[in-house]
């Protein structure tokens, strides 16, 4: 039975592979390599700033907060720019290249909080610039009925990179203890390789000569797309941010702080296992159903956080559900939006949808932070759980009305 199950899985994997266009795999490889690079930095940045430079988190946090709003605007601009020029690969490539340069910028910035803040803002500008055109490329490269699967494969590869990044950073620090500059240089080399992969292997299927009339943003004003943005924002506004989820788990279970960075690995592992199956499920059972279902799974995680389970069982269940939530919503939302957006405005539309969701989530983390401070932890979780339940019920008619 063991053997036959293994063979079955292998055969299924082969079928999935054949369904996915080479361009999706190329884009996935670019994202994988780029995520190795950026997660190397994320993993060591706090230690670098506090231990090597002696900065306080406060000094740095103030600067960082200032740039949060800029990223949302850049994303909209990136989408529009890619659509106007119909050069999605070029705009995405500029974003990847900018982030690669920023890795060396970290070295040049030394310990000046202002310069460090500027470099990190530029890095985030690069990320904002590339996201929408990249997702538009995925949508344009995939057969319409396999959109969910294509996004699932892309996001899976992306997550593999995110998992490998911290390991790469620790490998560098193991070889050269305390040499954070070496981490930055290696990260930069990896990011440059990502750009090389993009230039060499990603095709741009967009049509260069689009009539001006087709560039109009009118499709974004159609009720179907507006309803989808509204539903995504409504659900996003009731989502507890990841760091709060991990913090809640830590407080409930008394996890030693040293192991705290390992919690996101649990979410990532669950995401990795489920992104492709949920993508396929979305293609067959309906993307909007799966998107909403993902939020039901998240609701389950919130209920568990307040429920009777404890110990390793609670940890495993919550992290599995948390990863499953992302697997059922992240790529699936883009796959659901794809058919609503005509090619010439697809990147703009995706940017609008992602921005609506991101701003709603930002707002929710501010609200939950305030509730936590004012009412304490249990009440804040109860409020968030009730809010998400109401949002799910309210979002369903909106999503059903999407045409």
């Amino acid at each position: 039975m063991y053997v036959s199950a293994g063979l079955g899985n292998a055969a299924r994997a082969m079928r999935v592979w054949r369904l996915v266009a080479p361009n999706i795999v190329a884009l996935g490889a670019v994202s994988l390599v780029t995520d190795v690079s950026s997660e190397m930095i994320t993993a060591v940045l706090p230690l670098y700033l506090v231990l090597s430079l002696g900065l306080t988190p406060l000094q740095f946090g103030v600067l960082d907060g200032m740039y949060a709003g800029v990223t949302a605007l850049i994303r909209l601009a990136g989408g529009r720019l890619a659509d106007r020029s119909q050069r999605h690969r070029l705009v995405a490539g500029l974003g990847y290249a900018l982030s690669a340069v920023c890795k060396l910028g970290l070295l040049a910035a030394g310990s000046s909080p202002v310069a460090l803040g500027a470099v990190l803002a530029a890095d985030r500008t690069g990320k904002g610039l590339r996201t929408a055109p990249r997702d538009a490329l995925i949508a344009a490269s995939s057969a319409p009925r396999d959109l969910g699967l294509s996004f699932g494969v892309h996001r899976t590869m992306d997550t593999v990179g995110a998992l490998a990044g911290p390991l790469a950073a620790f490998a560098v620090l193991w070889a050269a203890p305390g040499a954070y500059d070496a981490v930055f240089v290696v990260s930069c080399c990896v990011a440059v390789f990502g750009v090389v992969l993009l230039v060499a292997f990603v095709r741009d299927p967009s049509i260069r000569s689009v009539p001006r009339a087709a560039m109009s943003l009118r499709p974004l004003r159609r009720p179907g797309f507006a309803l989808m943005c509204l539903a995504a924002a409504l659900l996003g506004a009731c989502t507890i941010s990841d760091s709060f989820v991990y913090l809640l788990l830590q407080r409930r279970l008394g996890i030693a702080a040293g192991y705290f960075p390992l919690l996101p690995l649990g979410t990532a592992a669950s995401f990795l296992a489920l992104a492709v199956p949920f993508g396929r499920l979305a293609d067959r059972a309906g993307r909007r159903v799966v998107f909403l279902g993902g939020h039901v799974l998240l609701l389950g995680a919130y209920l568990l956080l307040r429920g009777p389970l404890a110990g390793a069982v609670l940890l495993a269940c919550v992290l599995t559900l948390h990863g499953a939530f992302y697997a059922a919503t992240d790529g699936v939302l883009m796959a659901a939006a794809g058919p609503l957006l005509p090619g010439p405005v697809r990147a703009s539309g995706m940017a609008v949808l992602q921005t609506a969701q991101a701003l709603a989530r930002l707002m929710s983390s501010v609200l939950i932070g305030a509730a936590w401070t004012a009412w304490g932890r249990p009440a804040a979780v109860t409020a968030a759980t009730a809010g998400l339940g109401v949002a799910i019920v309210a979002a369903w008619p909106l999503l059903r009305a999407v045409r």
Binding site: V50, G65, S111, P177, A179, A182, V192, F193
Partner: protein, 331 residues
Amino acid sequence: MSTGGGAAGGRRAWLVLAAAALLALAATAYVLRAAGRGGAATARPAAIRLDDRGRLLFRNAGSNGVLASVPLAHPGGSRVLSGLNCVRLYASAGTGVCLTVRRAAVPKIFAVILDRGLHEVRRVQLPGAPSRARVSPSGRMVSWTVFVSGDSYTSPDLSTRTGILDMRTGRVIESLEDFTLLKDGRPYRSPDVNYWGVTFAADDDHFYATVRTKGRTYLVEGDVTARTMRTLRENVECPSLSPDGTRLVFKKATGDPSRPWRLHVLELRTMGEIALAETRSVDDQAAWLDDHTVLYGRLDGGATNVWTVPADGTGAPRLLLRNAFSPAVVR
């Protein structure tokens, strides 16, 4: 994965391979050079004692910063380096505390307690990145503050945890949050309370520290035996008590993001405060050279240096030690 047909696709694959090889070579070369550099900087273990009066202990800067010492009379003289990696350190009356990080896939952080011969006598695991360290004048009480990893590093409302160790009883108070806080005379509870920067009085029982709640910081006066603290005044961070016990040097938030803190001295009898002549921002829990001079680490461009400034608002800052942090005078 090649998308072009035939020869063009093959050539492209070769170019990508060549690029990968070049980048891998560059990355490896840099890491190897960095590894060699680390080896050269390792210090020889040397005889530093925590009861050598007239010497200044400090963290010799660099990513492998070690506990070091110079004679106070010749701070520019040759430095004696120990083999102890400390991110923050302090010492008093033959007791030392060194907050250190064991680098690993999951870094572990410890407060290492040292005796006068610099031997480890105790080790307490801490829940986050080192921020402040202090020892009471008698050497009996030790305190530390760490940034609690777990909260988003980039969130402006960071979390800290401050603990106290009583060397006589061996008891550890893991968090000041377990004490009762009286705010304006009434018991105060809030989940967002954070403490940092303890300084002890000569009686080994009273102490001063900073508390932050609802976006405001306050100076608290505490009592270890009674497990209570009460707020004294607003906008006082990282207090440090003068050797004669009459004044606190502290950093005061300015509201100007380009220079967030300025050193001030608070006269405890009159509660009058004066700004010190150091106008650049200082993010450190200062120490006292003597009853008239404070010393502190300051970030100057890419390096941390130790400076002194008169405690009465006159004079000007003077550079004492380059590439150093966490100064402590051996009295």
